[in-house]
Each structure stands twice: as C-alpha cells, then as structure tokens.
C-alpha cells in the first residue's frame, strides 16, 4: 500500500492533476479576460452589452494618434523611474539605519511597516487631509514657520501634484522594501567587515566593496518589482487625484480606466492595455538581459 502511494506521488501526471484546479482558475480569471481583451481591441465596443463590429487596427491607430496617450506614456515613465530610484535609495537608507544596534530596534522594525500594511484608501484620505490647502496641517506648519506665504496646493496644482503623488507612493512602499533589504543586510558576514576595517578600509569603501555586492541581487529584484508595481499602480493615484488636475497625474493605467469607464470606449481601452503590456514586457526582458550580463561579467 505504502509502495503504491509513493509511486502515485512520484507520477508527474498526479502532480499535474493537483495543479489543474489552479491552472483552470488562472485560465478563467486571467487568460479568458486577456484573450477577450484582444478580441475587443479589434472591434468597436463602447461598453458591455452593445453589438460588436470588427474594425481591424482602427483602435490601435486612434490610440497611437492621441496626444493624451503619449502624454500618459511619458508620465508613466517619469512616475515609474522616479518611484524605482527613490524606493531603491530610500529602502537601502532605511534598512542601513535599521541594521544598526540601538535600543528598541525590534519595535521600530515592526512599526516602520505600518504605511505598507494600511489600506490605500486610508492613506489617501489621511494624506488628502494633511495636505489640504485650507485645513491641512502641512500648510499650517509651513506657513507658521514662514517657509511659504500662501498655502501650497499639493494635490491640485500642476507643479506639485505629480511629485507629491510620487513621494506618497514611495512613502508607502519604502518600508516594505526596507524590510527585504534589511534581511539581505543581515546575511553579510561580519568577519569581512572586520577584516576590511583592520586593513584600513573606510566605511564607504566597506559599503561599496562588501555590502553592496552582497545585497545587489536583492536590490535588482526590488528594482524589477518596484518598476512593475509602480507602472501598474492605479488606486493610489486615482484616490489622491483622479488623474488630475487636467491629466497631470494621468499615467497609463489611469488613461486606460478613463478611456473605458469615463469615455466608454472599451475597444480603445483594450488596445491601450495591449500596447501597455507589450511595452512593459519589453522593459522587463531588457532588464533581465541587463542583469544577466552584469552577473556574467562578474
């Protein structure tokens, strides 16, 4: 009996059977909508339920000819690159501080994850209150300290909205990435640092020649994740600014949502999604090749 069960367990078909429900689930919830998006992108659907007529590449041409689309592409690049850069530097900095020995470090390590744990809607509401030009505490402090004369419209002026949204998104994600970097930092052998210190290496040299090479695989994963998650972010931007003022925070996900659910042009939205996914895929492939090459050189 024991032998039979061990034979079954080792059988690859049995393994396949076990993962089959999951595969089916993914197919129904992801694959079907994805395939349907392709079908819709070649038709003229304005919203669900209307009759479909195939129009070839018209939607792709129309989206590509729209200035709003290209503006949102540029904004997505600015948004994603700024987020990746700030999140990498920020999480590394925070992790280095958390990695020091001091009283209450366990408490602080747990506490710091809070912005990431809270639901986005809570963060959006709280920050909207804090940054409100008339009632917000941020402007109150800035004016009281004499830093500004007039309240800053953090979430409603063309100058401030995108940088503010980027910083708020980083504020949310840095704690999460910090914990991951911290875990990586704790794997760096102390002996290496001690030996280098005895040899007269400065703190900076020890950091760049010992710490950084050790944790660089983790940083690369963070960079990739941060890029993917930032480029895809919808909720934070939507809840803070709804893509405004006047599209100044409209990244591609917001553009696609507005196309589908404000302009009711499902087909054009589907075409934009496909182009967005294609673009994202190209970037990921490029980055993976880049990372592999770097690894090989080393």
């Amino acid at each position: 009996m024991k032998r039979i069960s061990s034979v079954i367990l080792k059988d690859p078909t049995f393994g396949l059977l076990l993962v089959l429900p999951l595969l089916l689930w993914v197919a129904v919830t992801l694959l079907y909508p994805a395939v349907d998006a392709v079908r819709i992108s070649f038709s003229n659907v304005r919203y669900v339920g209307l009759p479909i007529k195939y129009v070839g590449l018209t939607n792709f041409k129309h989206v590509l000819s729209e200035r709003e689309f290209w503006d949102s592409v540029i904004r997505t690049v600015i948004w994603s690159v700024s987020n990746v850069a700030l999140q990498l530097v920020g999480s590394l900095g925070v992790a280095l501080v958390l990695n020091q020995e001091y009283k209450g470090k366990e408490f602080i390590r747990n506490w710091i994850i809070l912005p990431w744990v809270l639901p986005t809607i809570v963060l959006a509401i709280v920050w909207k209150w804090i940054l409100d030009p008339t009632h917000g505490v941020a402007n109150y402090i800035l004016i009281r300290l004499g830093i500004v004369e007039r309240p800053i419209e953090f979430l409603s002026s063309t100058t401030w909205t995108l940088p503010t949204a980027i910083l708020l998104n980083c504020w949310r994600w840095i704690p999460y990435f910090s914990v991951i970097v911290l875990a990586a930092l704790q794997t760096v052998p102390k002996e290496l640092h001690e030996a280098a210190a005895i040899d007269g290496a400065s703190r900076w040299k020890r950091f760049t020649h010992i710490t950084l090479p050790f944790i660089s695989p983790v940083l690369k994963v963070i960079a990739l994740n941060s890029l993917l998650w930032s480029a895809n972010i919808f909720d934070t931007i939507w809840l803070l600014t709804r893509g405004g003022p006047l599209d100044h925070t409209t990244t591609l996900p917001i553009y696609i949502y507005s196309k589908a659910f404000r302009s009711f042009r499902f087909s054009e939205a589907a075409a934009a999604i496909l182009m967005f996914l294609g673009l994202l895929l190209l970037v990921i492939i490029y980055l993976r090749i880049l990372f592999k090459e770097e690894g090989a050189q080393r």
Binding site: T134, P151, E153, L155, G244, P245, L246, S263, F264
Partner: protein, 435 residues
C-alpha cells in the same frame, strides 16, 4: 422493517412539502436598484418598499442600493450577465446610456394611466419622451439655488434678506465679504473634473442663455459661442474667490466649507437644507436661499433634471407589478414621504404632490418654505444639457459621462487658458467624443 417505514414516511413528507411549495402562490419579486446611498435615504426607501409589500401580498419589491459613481460600469455588466434589476432609478442621460443595450421597456401606457390622476410637470416628464414613447416614470426633481449664511452676511454688514440677484451683484458681494475680513473666501466653487463642476457651469450657461450645447442637428456642436464664453469667464471670476485647492473640489468640500463658516455662499442643489440640519453649527434660519443670480441680459433658470424609474424586464407579470408599485408611490401622501427623505432637496414632479398638505407637513420644509418655493420656481425654467431641443439628443450622455464642461473649466483654472481658448477646445472635445 422499522427503518424502512421511517424512511418511507420521510420521503412522503418531503414529496408533500415539495408539492405544497410548488402549488403555493409565490409573490412576484422585483429587484429595484436605486442610487440614493446616503443612510437616511436608504432607510426611507426600504421602509416604503416594505410598506408596499405588506399591503400588496402578491408583490415583493426588493430594494438594492448602488452608487452613482459605479452604476455606469455596473449596470451594463449586470444586465449583460442576466443579473440586472427588474427596474431601477435613472436620470435622463443615464437612461439613454442603458437604452442602447435594448433592455429598457417603454412605459407610455403607465404614464398615460398616471396622467388620468396626476398632472406631471413638463420639465420632469419631457426628457423621458423620445422615439414616440415614454421610457421612465419621473418620481422627483432637483435643481440649483444660491445658498448663503445669513450670520456671515450680517457680520459683513450685508442685508441677510437681500441676497445677490445678478452676476454683477454676486461679484460685488464677494468683494464686500472678502474686504470685511469676516471670511477669507466668500464663495466655494467646485473645480474638479466632476459632475458638481459640470452642473454649476451649466447653471451659469442656462442663466446666460447658452443652454444649447448642440444645434437642431444633434451632431452639430454649438458649444463654442460668445454666451458660453461669458459663462466661463464669470465662472473664473467666482473661482478666484474660492478657497485654494478648489480645482479638486466636488460636492462635499463646498458643503463643508459653508457649514463650517469658511465661506459665505455656495451654488448647489437643495440637499444643503438637510445637510445644514445635520451638520452646521448654526440654526436653520441662518441658511439663506436665493435663485441662481443672472446676468443683466440673462434669463431665470438653472440645471434641472428629474429622477425616474425605468423598467428593464419584459415579463408581463412583473410589468403589472411595477405599474402597481408606481401608482401606489405616486399617491401624494406616499410620494411626500419619499421626498421627505431629504426635505427640500427632492422636488415634486406632479401638481397633486406639490399642492398636497402631506408634502408641506414636514417640519424642515415648513421652516424653509421660501427655499423650497424658490427651487420649484427655478425648476419651471430648468434645463438639462442635451435635452433642450424638441427631440432628445442621443449624444447628451457623452457630455456628462466625460465631464467635458468641467474639463473645459480646468483649462482655465489649471492651465491658465482664456475662456475663449478653453471653450474652443471644449467644443473640439465634444465633437471628438460624439464621433
């Protein structure tokens, strides 16, 4: 043997119950979607449906709450999946949007029967008449007015019983209020790309005789005209008196600003009365109401639209049940209770309700009779974009769905374009949207 007997008895019992259940008269169930999501409104609608169900044992109305924010996405998907409601609340442009799915049922016979007993106001009923049929049964209307704080007016040396009547006066009042130092910002103006901004701008367009966005030809956009430009120029002047950050303001922010005394005036719909009772720090007598100020050569009016019930099922039994429900609902004493869920905001759509004692019996309405009368008078001249011609424009929904009026406003308030340039671009956007 004993076990077999027990099993047989259980089986026969089950069989008997199934037969009894199948032959019993089940009530006709109608799922009713509405978007009045504020708690007191949800409660009142539920209460009325339960009362109807009790007095009409053969029918069961099941109200389900949705939100205006999501209904444009939710309703088509649900209808397509066969999970849509049997009837639902609508406004004229949303009706056009759902009608394209081919599920909205004409209700001309129901309207004709109701007209035997009640006289509907034209402005409430007309938007629902096109293609030679009525497509919804109006239940209540809503319009715009100028709401102001009498206590702030008094402190600023203004006569609280003499609100501004013209555009010129409104600007003078803003200046006086600002100079008095009583408030830093005299008026709150919504500026987000949102329905709140659309409705304020359209009100300014109506009073400046620029109510037609489309020509007689439904595909001809006549938005770019001097009158519309004037309306936007005036909006900008008001906007400059509004608190910083107003470019992201929609419905709630101006409300809070007025209730907390941060500003002295707001132009909005009648929900300010109930809102004041629930939230403001002053007695209701301090809330003033006036018709939307008009320019020197303008006309009285504001945005006005009625909410109606549209039937989505073609089941004859359910249709009969729906008819029974709307007939019951339109009785003045019942309808008044529905309208009192937010007294002074929901306006009657029939003469019988307007002239009934039941409608005027609500204590809040009793206290704000002039405010309610102002809105009823305004409603007579009320307009809704896309519904200003003899025939309903099928493109009407696009302007509101994409908030193009508000988008045009942001070209001025955010991008710093002149009203002329902004309106030109707004017209282009409408043309693009209706293609």
């Amino acid at each position: 043997m004993k076990a077999r007997t027990i099993l047989l008895v259980v089986f026969l019992g089950c069989l008997l119950m199934t037969v009894l259940y199948a032959t019993s008269t089940k009530p006709i169930k109608l799922v009713f979607w509405h978007m009045e999501a504020r708690p007191h409104r949800v409660e009142r609608i539920k209460e009325l449906c339960e009362e109807f169900n009790k007095t009409h044992p053969g029918i069961e109305i099941m109200p389900q709450v949705q939100s205006w924010g999501e209904i444009y996405q939710l309703a088509p998907a649900a209808i397509q999946a066969g999970r849509g409601p049997d009837f639902m609340l609508t406004i004229p442009d949303f009706l056009l949007y759902i009608k394209a799915l081919g599920v909205v049922q004409p209700v001309t016979d129901i309207i004709k029967d109701l007209q035997q007993k009640y006289t509907f106001f034209d402005s409430a009923l007309e938007p629902y008449y096109f293609d030679k049929e009525y497509w919804a049964v109006p239940i209540y209307g809503m319009t715009f007015a100028l709401w102001y704080r009498k206590d702030i007016f008094r402190k600023a040396g203004l006569d609280p019983n003499r609100p501004p009547r013209t555009w010129k006066e409104l600007l003078e009042y803003c200046e006086k209020l600002k100079n008095s130092g009583v408030v830093k910002y005299p008026i709150a103006v919504p500026g987000a790309i949102h329905m709140a901004t659309d409705q304020l701008i359209y009100t300014l367009m109506v009073v400046n005789k620029a109510e037609h966005i489309f020509g007689e030809d439904p595909n001809k956009v006549i938005f770019d005209n001097p009158r519309t430009v004037e309306a936007y120029a005036f909006y900008k002047k008001l906007f400059d008196y509004s608190p910083p950050g107003s470019t992201s303001w929609a419905w709630d922010e101006p409300r809070t600003a007025l209730f907390t005394g941060q500003v002295a005036m707001v132009m909005e719909k009648g929900h300010y009365i109930k809102g004041w009772v629930d939230n403001a720090n002053a007695p209701l007598s301090e809330l003033g109401c006036a018709p939307a100020p008009i320019p020197e050569d303008g006309q009285p009016g504001a945005i006005y639209y009625s909410n109606g019930l549209m039937l989505l099922t073609n089941d004859p039994q359910k249709r009969a049940a729906f008819k029974e429900f709307v007939e019951w609902l339109h009785q003045p004493n019942v309808m008044s209770r529905l309208l009192h869920m937010d007294p002074g905001f929901f306006l009657p759509v029939t003469r019988e309700v307007l002239y009934s004692d039941a409608f005027w019996s609500d204590p809040v309405i009793k206290e704000k009779i002039p405010a309610v009368l102002i809105q009823i008078e305004t409603a007579k001249h009320g307009k809704l974009f896309g519904f200003t011609r003899d025939t309903v424009n099928p493109n009407a929904g696009v302007v509101s769905a994409e908030n193009i009026l508000a988008w045009t406003a942001q070209l001025i308030t955010v991008k710093g374009l002149s009203p002329e340039e902004a309106v030109k671009l707004g017209a282009k956007k409408i043309e693009e949207a209706i293609k």
